[in-house]
């Protein structure tokens, strides 16, 4: 689903766009479920963080991005990659560690990106990408360009130093960036109340005289409206904002976490009743924008799309270990720069040649 400039904020006015939003949420849901399954089959290694239950908070805001905007998200990034329009096969291939993956197999689940679509990752250090997102906003400002930056992160990132420094810089320099806290109430196994002196996270913005706002993250239309408005403000007035979207993840922090030790079954059940997809389906039905057959067709379509992606990713080749050093440096003369560092092994590991025998 490509982003287009000048999209109507009220997506319900356009039946096709409305359904497109639903389809993306369904695609994310299906992709994440299958990713979980593929992880248990050991086709995905390392970390794998799923956005099941958070589709509205993720997709709703990304849907507002325009062609000149940039997106930075945390390691729970599969939804972002799908939402900007990257091919599910390429995303799955990255999870599988294949050469055709969006990062060539070098990043994995946490480091997805799509430079052409201005999706700049996929970041593994909690809060680490916030200053970098500010830098992108700085570059936009520097070049007097039109865009804005959407920076998504979790509630856990609001207590680390980089959060404070990034928000302060964005505010003091008046940069076009929207900081979106996807508050799913838990940072790993720690609740927001436990970790934060001010658990109403949007209120933190006042420390920087920045606009702060909270919406129901499971209401995709509310998320979309707020983000769209704040991004426009950022673009036009070059002013940052902090948007808190409250949601809930149905799974644990990652595939390695059952999410049961620190949450009650009742709580999870209660949130399932507020499943963002179900809620949006209800809204669409209410407006006669969605027939049952259409819903089934969409579900089948995304299921097939994900199955195809898995098949394609599974068949793709793995990266060549012979190219291990190719992406460490990028300047065109890096090989020459390093030529005198080691005659045999390029970067200081065990010398293969017995150059000392003469």
């Amino acid at each position: 689903m490509a982003r287009a400039a000048g999209r109507a904020h009220d997506v319900l006015q356009d039946g096709e766009q409305a359904l497109g939003l639903l389809r993306m949420m369904l695609l994310v849901r299906r992709f994440e479920e299958r990713a979980e399954e593929q992880y248990t089959r050991a086709r995905i290694g390392g970390y794998c963080h799923l956005a099941i239950g958070e589709e509205a908070a993720n997709v709703g805001s990304i849907d507002c991005l325009e062609a000149d905007d940039y997106l930075f998200v945390s390691y729970r990034d599969h939804a972002a990659a799908l939402a900007v329009g990257s091919s599910p096969a390429a995303i799955m291939a990255e999870l599988f560690g294949k050469e055709t993956g969006v990062a060539g197999g070098y990043g994995g689940s946490m480091h997805l990106l799509d430079v052409d679509r201005r999706f700049l990752g996929g970041w593994g250090i909690v809060g680490g990408h916030l200053p970098i997102a500010v830098g992108a906003a700085l570059a936009i400002d520097y070049q007097d360009a039109l865009g804005a930056v959407l920076c998504q992160f979790g509630d856990g990132a609001t207590n680390i130093g980089a959060f404070h420094e990034a928000l302060n810089l964005a505010a003091v320099w008046h940069l076009p960036i929207v900081f979106q806290v996807i508050n799913n109430l838990y940072g790993m196994g720690t609740s927001v109340e436990q970790a934060s002196a001010e658990p109403e996270l949007h209120k933190r913005a006042c420390a920087y005289r920045m606009h702060g706002e909270r919406v129901d993250g499971n209401d995709v239309l509310a998320v979309r409206e707020a983000t769209g408005r704040l991004l426009a403000r950022a673009r036009e007035e070059s002013e940052p904002a902090l948007l808190e979207t409250t949601t809930y993840r149905f799974r644990g922090h990652s595939v390695a976490d059952a999410g049961k030790v620190y949450r009650t079954a009742d709580e999870v059940a209660a949130w399932r009743e507020r499943d963002p997809i179900a809620r949006y389906v209800a809204v669409l039905r209410d407006r006669d924008l969605l027939a049952d057959e259409e819903l089934d067709r969409l579900r089948t379509e995304v299921a097939d799309e994900v199955s195809d992606a898995i098949r394609e990713a599974a068949a793709a080749p793995t990266p060549d270990p012979g190219e291990l050093y190719e992406n460490v440096y990028g300047g065109e003369d890096w090989r020459e720069q390093f030529a005198r560092m080691n005659t045999a092994a390029p970067f200081g590991e065990r010398e293969e040649t017995r150059s000392w025998l003469r």
Partner: protein, 334 residues
Amino acid sequence: MAEVTYREALRRALDEELERDERVFLMGEEIGRFEGSYKVTAGLWAKYGPKRVRETPISEEGFVGAGIGAAMLGLRPVVEIMTINFILVAQDMVVNHAAKIRNMFGGKVGVPMVIRTPGGAGAQLTAQHSQSLEVWFAHTPGLKVVAPSNPRDAYGLLKTAIRDDDPVLFVENLVLYNVTGSIPEPEEDFTLPLGRAHVAREGADLTIVAHSYTVRRALSVADRLARSGFEAEVIDLRSLRPLDVDTVVESVRKTNRVLIAEEGWATFGVGAELAARVGRACFDDLDAPPERVGGAEVPMPYSKPLELAALMLEDKLEAAARSLLAECGLVEAG
């Protein structure tokens, strides 16, 4: 040729690169109106304005990260960290982000950024303000680290660093800022390649390897040794990553004796790295094992006599050199 201080050489390089490429811009604390805490950026804010010479709050993690983000979008930030001691609060940005971005994203995006910062000690600035931490970064794949020892090299290397497409840590030195030397005229567009050491002094009796301010100490010690009849070859590494091992090896094959000197702590330092590489490449060429000497492995104390005892001064370097020569049967007659 112009005769300028190291500081002025840096300033000229920045000025010329700002002029040459509008993607280049500066960030750092006090670099604007205040003209830089060490006056390296004097006059640049007045000339280029606040957009291109951007002052920052005390927020190293924040503004180093911002530099990274701007670089990912194609700008060429030159970020100043007031002294290398403060880079530690931005360590995550430098090591976990700047160094990793190109590789972890499969080569699809890079970070053409320079971080300039002075290291070194000697003015009773005590423990937290007297470190030489460049090896922490030379250890890290994805970064490049340079440490010029004189105005000409500073000028040429900074221009190259700014034009380089990878993150470069440009290590200056507080004492070096006042050292003078000649630099080429701007029309020559003089640059120096990374990864090439310089033989600052030729000699046949032993090789002394150093970088940054220590090169000057080494040259001074070489003069002392010459009065005893021993000719030291002094190698100015200039670049720590990439490291010009070949130049050092060629020298040791000639002199058979090598001493690596650094201002920082020798343990896990530049000397440790070169001793290992030279030990292997020159196994049959050595007259004695490689020797290394560095600062005392203590947090730098305040009181002057304590500081003097801890610094890697000429006397300490000379003693190490003479000890190495003595191990090889070369002792001053009489």
